[in-house]
Point group: D2
């Protein structure tokens, strides 16, 4: 029987942390040996022989947590935001002295969303037209969503890099706003509808065909497969990895 | 064996006319006895015993054609535009003297589109949120489409009539155009994509559920079932009917 | 200021009951005056002047609850199952002696689902082809879903009633099961996918066009608008109504 | 100004050939110097200085055409079927003596379809559940479609290779066929609907999220971008390439 990987969750009482504790507990190859909250000492991570630390805390404490882990040869999977370029640089310097240790910093753990963005970006240069529709619950305060803005920017860059012409558009008379927002030339439409959570469709069209890549996020459970993938993979990827994409095997 | 209905097509060489001639020819209960073009005399309609005339000509000639038909007791199915309120009034006066004769004037023969608009309008009052996405080929010059504008106006009127509150929307920061155009308070989003023809989605949402009514029009064949329904029904509906809706049996 | 309607919920601690209590509490025109559980006496409904009783209990007790309500001139909205033809007959007899009192017995309170089934049934006769795809979470034990079976039966009956031919299908070689199950001649496909809840698509097609009617049920909140509609309407509909459809205004 | 690439089309009068002739004619960087039909001599390809030959002929003649091209240092883009393993082997032997010459043999030129299959295959190992819905016109004789069978086999292989468990499925009672056909354990559902052409959806689900990859093929125009990509790329890829995938740049 293979040994289970010893995992600790920091920020275990938050929404993401609670879900992570449950997901790790349910995984047969992982052993949750510590679930820490604010104020708990990190020393026990060492005593308990933790191999992978999952940091789901707050921007103020994540850097110290991760540095502690690296200093003690514990791999770290980090979902906390607030990692500036400066912080990332300092972390890389530290990792240069701990060549066996891996750190994953992932702004988005939803595998489906990460894959959808990647596929849309790859496909973008091969179609005449690309537009994005994002659909969210009506309590959302910003339009378009951050994910849609990032997808549009990546799509636009991919098309520019490949020298693709602007999408054809003969619109002469437009009721204000009908054609959506333009993000680097890519049209983005934001739907706000009661009942929805977070959804995005990238529509790619050329004469005679359409490719649609849609991601639906129904609840926070969707982040857990990404967290588990991070935990299982981080030990085999020494150094710093930013973005879950780096752990996906998309060669086959 | 039941006798076939004798049908004539006016404007038989146009795009719609050509399709109508083919569709009538393929229908086992209909007999195409005349396919007339510009300049052909209407007198033969009488000689040939035509029972239903299909007018797919041009705004300049449709009124005279229909009046000729009514005067001779021939039912008329009309797809030509250009029927002003004044023309419609004059036609009704004429029909008052020909109480057995029916005329259908239909701006849209696509059954699916007619049904989609009707269903969306009926459902609109029962949901917190309604938004419309219309998607067309990129050669279209207007945005939103005429169908989307009409659907939005009908949806808005239905909601106003039922005293439904505005859809919830917490948007505070919006990239210009992201939330679409507002048509009587209903958000409409216009996608233009190579490869597409004419498509419309009405999204209706309330906490916990979504209803989506989508119509795809792939080509002009889609008008033919509506034309055939008109031909088969017009004889049983004396007087003037505007809109194919009037011929649909939606009670069951 | 108009007076609020006094409402009581029976079975208030169940999943549906809890949601109903919350929804009624949030409605500005409704006053929740009693939330009863198993063993609570119904006498207080009379003392508190309850106008509408919502029964979300169990098959064993629903009949006695409703008869008590009718005997005391309290309207009843009933979501509990177990109403056999015999029980319904007895209830109608009782209502004949209480001509001001209304009872709604509704097997499905999700407005979107009720509307989707109705629209699909109405449209079915106007298209060459109709197929149904239902998609559910993978813990579901039956395939197809009850809703899909009922929708297929209604669609098939509507087509038979209108004399519509069978949908065209040239399939000669089929991998077992590929074409789905046949329910009265309508093909039904059952998808089971992690992440999903309860979803159904009715696809209707004719040459050149497609009409798609899709309903997504994300959680039990979706039943509440139907419950509220029932509460607000039941007082104006004396006698027995089976099915929420009867309360929908779909004429406009 | 850069020189235009000299292109010849063989099988120029067939459906695909006619479309290719039009597409090449419309491309500003390509010059159509020959459009050959059955019986035309290939010698003129040499005289005219053709750089890329597009073979859209028939299985009986494609091998001789391609060997002629390779012998004369003309690159070949081949859409004709009938390339057995034996033929491919012989072609590779020939190409070993013409190290500057490239040949692309592509069973499917629809970029969107090629991309959709690739993306679905890559994503398959990251989700608990995968099912495929393919939708076609009702004149299709086989179910599932060849593309769906191939996609399912690739998806199943990718999951097996990654050691992914079978998709969860608690179905106990099934109306025969409801759950679709099983292709290497992947469920495939075949819809046949008037109005449709060729469409495929791969649904991937995990708790809390869904990824959907859909491809719609509306007409044969959809093959032309792939043909043009082949023409523009074949000169830079000496040797034999099977499948358009090999020419797609999906690294970014």
């Amino acid at each position: 029987m293979s040994e289970m990987l010893k995992v600790a969750v920091l920020g275990a009482k938050g929404r993401m942390g609670t879900a992570a504790v449950a997901a790790i507990g349910a995984a047969q190859d992982l052993e949750l040996v510590a679930a820490l909250g604010r104020g708990d000492s990190l020393d026990q991570l060492v005593k308990l022989g933790v191999q992978v630390m999952v940091d789901l805390t707050v921007p103020d404490s994540t850097e110290a947590n991760v540095r502690f882990a690296v200093d003690h040869g514990i791999h770290a999977v980090v979902g906390t935001t607030g990692w500036s370029a400066e912080r990332l640089g300092a972390l890389e310097s530290l990792l240069a002295h701990h060549r066996q240790t891996g750190v994953l910093i992932a702004p988005n753990f939803a595998l489906g969303s990460v894959l959808a963005t990647r596929f849309a970006t790859q496909a973008a240069r091969y179609f005449d037209s690309v537009e994005i529709i994002e659909l969210h619950h009506p309590r959302k305060v910003d339009a378009p969503s951050g994910t849609a803005l990032r997808t549009a920017a990546l799509v636009a860059a991919a098309r520019a890099g490949a020298g693709v012409a602007d999408a054809p558009d003969a619109t002469e008379t437009e009721l204000d706003g009908a054609r959506g927002a333009s993000v680097d030339g890519i049209r983005v439409h934001s739907v706000r509808l009661a009942g929805l959570v977070a959804h995005q469709e990238v529509l790619l069209g050329s004469p005679g065909e359409q490719l649609t890549i849609r991601h639906d996020s129904f609840n926070h459970e969707s982040f857990m497969p990404g967290v588990l993938l991070g935990i299982r993979t981080v030990g085999t990827r020494p150094g710093l990895t930013v973005g879950l994409d780096g752990y996906l095997d998309l060669e086959s």
